[in-house]
């Protein structure tokens, strides 16, 4: 190998030849004292410099990111790993002893009638909550996107339930739904309809919590949809109007395709939220989970709600984690392909 050229290994393993810009005397014979360093010395020096730089980079990285990484490890990954370990035990909450049972807790959840019922309820609740929030949120966003009087107030009013406490929301709605004394009962009574037994019938229970969850969540969807609507170029809509496209045609041919990134984002976040964040409403409105026993409620019920099954509950929590992981991965892999980015 001649001086003036050197070969570097690229990260991918291939070689890259570059021209050395050092003076021409480099590499010529010189007295011993000022002899140029040989290849090994140069490589060692480079390696040392590289190591020093690496070490400096690592120190900076650890200085800035270290505390966060430690916190994430301590409060997310360590509990996650502990939970996975607990899911392999037959363990009563707080008991000093437990029996390792391998995957038996998972097998039980996927094969028992109560486990299958949890999947059914979770599916209905998630579908109702996500579709309800997104469709109503989009309709409200379309209205709020128009220049109407009191638009700012209306936007605030629509969004405010989203930031309210779920417990408070649930308590207020319990009064509304009360079939003996509730506000809804009075309205239905005026039009000659008897109030359904919202709290006693499992199906009505499920419908009731879906309505409340959608009411609380649709402000979030409306605001995100509104942001999406405002990013659609006006000239496109104006051109379509000039071409005599009606409002429905403009919506389905221009607005909706350009909103697909927003729809995709909301779909992912809403599914995750509805499967994990609805616990407060469910717990307050239906304390025994009668007809509303979604997977997040089942985790609570099995560990704290009388059963005290810490190991089994941990297994259901792991199932929820991987369910959300898989749903998100599938959505990223397949649904995103159909998303139209501007």
């Amino acid at each position: 190998m001649a001086w003036g050229h050197c070969t570097h290994k690229t990260p991918g393993g291939g070689s890259l030849t570059t021209t050395d810009s050092r003076p021409a005397h480099v590499g010529q014979d010189k007295p011993e004292a000022s002899a140029p360093p040989d290849d090994a010395q140069l490589a060692a020096a480079r390696k040392k410099a590289h190591r020093r730089k690496n070490s400096k980079n690592w120190s900076l990285f650890l200085l800035f990111a270290g505390p966060n990484i430690l916190l994430i490890l301590a409060f997310i990954y360590y509990p996650l790993a502990m939970n996975m370990y607990f899911s392999s035990l037959d363990w009563r909450l707080g008991a000093p002893r437990a029996d390792p049972v391998g995957l038996a807790n998972y097998q039980r959840f996927f094969t028992s009638p109560s486990g299958l019922e949890v999947w059914r309820v979770t599916g209905i609740f998630t579908a109702g909550a996500v579709l309800g929030s997104m469709i109503l949120g989009l309709l409200i966003a379309l209205v709020l996107n128009k220049k109407i009087p009191g638009r700012t107030f209306a936007r605030t009013a629509v969004f405010s339930p989203y930031v309210l406490s779920g417990v408070g929301v649930a308590l207020v709605w319990m009064f509304i739904f009360d079939p003996q004394r509730g506000a809804l009962m009075f309205i239905l009574d005026r039009i000659g309809i008897e109030s359904p037994q919202w709290f006693l019938d499992p199906d009505a229970n499920l419908l009731m919590v879906i309505i409340v969850y959608v009411w609380k969540n649709l402000g979030y969807c409306a605001v995100v949809f509104l942001a999406g609507l405002q990013s659609i170029p006006k000239d496109l809509l104006e051109s379509a109007t000039i071409d005599r496209a009606g409002p429905v045609r403009r919506f389905f041919s221009i607005v909706l395709p350009l909103l697909t990134p927003t729809v995709f984002f909301l779909l992912v976040t809403n599914i995750i939220f509805s499967m994990t964040n609805a616990f407060d409403i469910l717990r307050v409105m239906t304390p025994t989970g009668n007809g509303t026993n979604t997977i997040i409620f089942e985790i609570y019920l099995q560990s704290f709600g009388q059963f005290n099954r810490a190991g089994y509950s941990a297994a259901i929590a792991v199932v929820l984690f991987f369910t959300l992981f898989i749903i998100t991965a599938v959505q990223l892999r397949f649904v995103e392909r159909k998303v139209h980015y501007q």
């Binding site: 909450l93 707080g94 319990m174 709290f199 709600g305 005290n308």
Partner: protein
Amino acid sequence: MKQSTISHSWKGIAAFSVAALAITACGPDTNGGDAAEEAADTDWADVEPAESIVFATNHPGGSEDIEAEFIDEFTEETGIEVEVITSGANYEETSQWFQTGGGSNADVVVLSDATWFPNYLNDALIPVDDVLEAADIDVSGYVDALYEDYLYEGSHYGVPYARSTPLFYYNVEHYEEAGIDAPPETWEEVAEISQTIVDEDLAQFGYAFPPSDEYPAWGMANLVWGYGGAWSEEWDFSTVSSDETVEALEFAQSGVEDGWANVAATSQTDDFSSGVASQTIQSTGSLGGIMDTADFEVGTAFLPDGPAAEGETPTGGAGLMLAAASSPEEQLASAMFVGYMTSADVQARFSEETGYVPSHQESDMSDVYADTPQFETAVEQLERARVQDFARVFLPGADLELATTLQSLLTSGDDVREEMERVEAEFESLYETDLADEIDG
């Protein structure tokens, strides 16, 4: 290069092993050890009480101030300091807190009749008989059934503290308007009076049954016992689907079908206080709240008799338990404390302040009776108190199963026998899954 790969592999294995060790070290013992064997018999004669103890309480019945008052008096009397920890908003939270290690420094803990048993199974409680004797606490004054609630395998695991029973409530004004001069003594009379009230259009319903989240298996135990049935006979669950139990539940179901009774949507207390229903059964602890809310005169009566038994009254509420993790010195001091908190005078004042029934037979309640004569019924009814069935208070998940089944039966018209046979099978399954190994040894 090869050496480097091996080195990385070993590092990975080592890191994984350390992580696995860290995880398993923090979990429960999986080697089959028995912590109970480690508990040696204590010779209490050699033990001096500790100078301070920790009391974990959810302040039942809004008792924070009165508990603090009692603690000051106890410290003044004995010199033992008591640190109070608020362990939750209710009995369930307190038990969860104690079970999950939050209460690892608690010496005395308030646990309900339905939550102390898992803590017993976890070896977290000590039997109190010997230590109470060492602390010179006379247990003969406790209401028998209230103390027997904590009896298991020949030892008591708590003393009765914040106790309650169900009580029969009725709307005096509705009774007067319907010409009814006395509350019902039997369930048949409850049905007759309820039908009269509905016929006279005095209320929408004559009687309100509890919904699933208001512990219907507790409130309806009297009805089932009255017909000779039960939720269980110790660990024998066949009684839950016996002819007697089925007959009792068919009676309740027919009440809703015939229209003289309903199942309250949110709480039978609300239905009664608002005048939707003229009669109900609810905890003695709800008396104060009902009297504050109702704009009519409230009457109270003993729980009704059934065709097979006098109106037996299920016990309820919470007791004081001693932690197994405490030192003998702390346990002895704790025994002195629980003895003080359940003494006749303290229980009378606690009852007056909270609405719980006094657990001591010698508590003087005359001042309370003068102000609230309805409360006298609650205290006198203690003579009929009966310890609850194992299935409801000891079998994990059984109370929830009963609660949802009872609500469903009363509102749907399902076949009672078929449903209760399903419940029996469910109880057997719960027992096999969660208890059999420990109970049967």
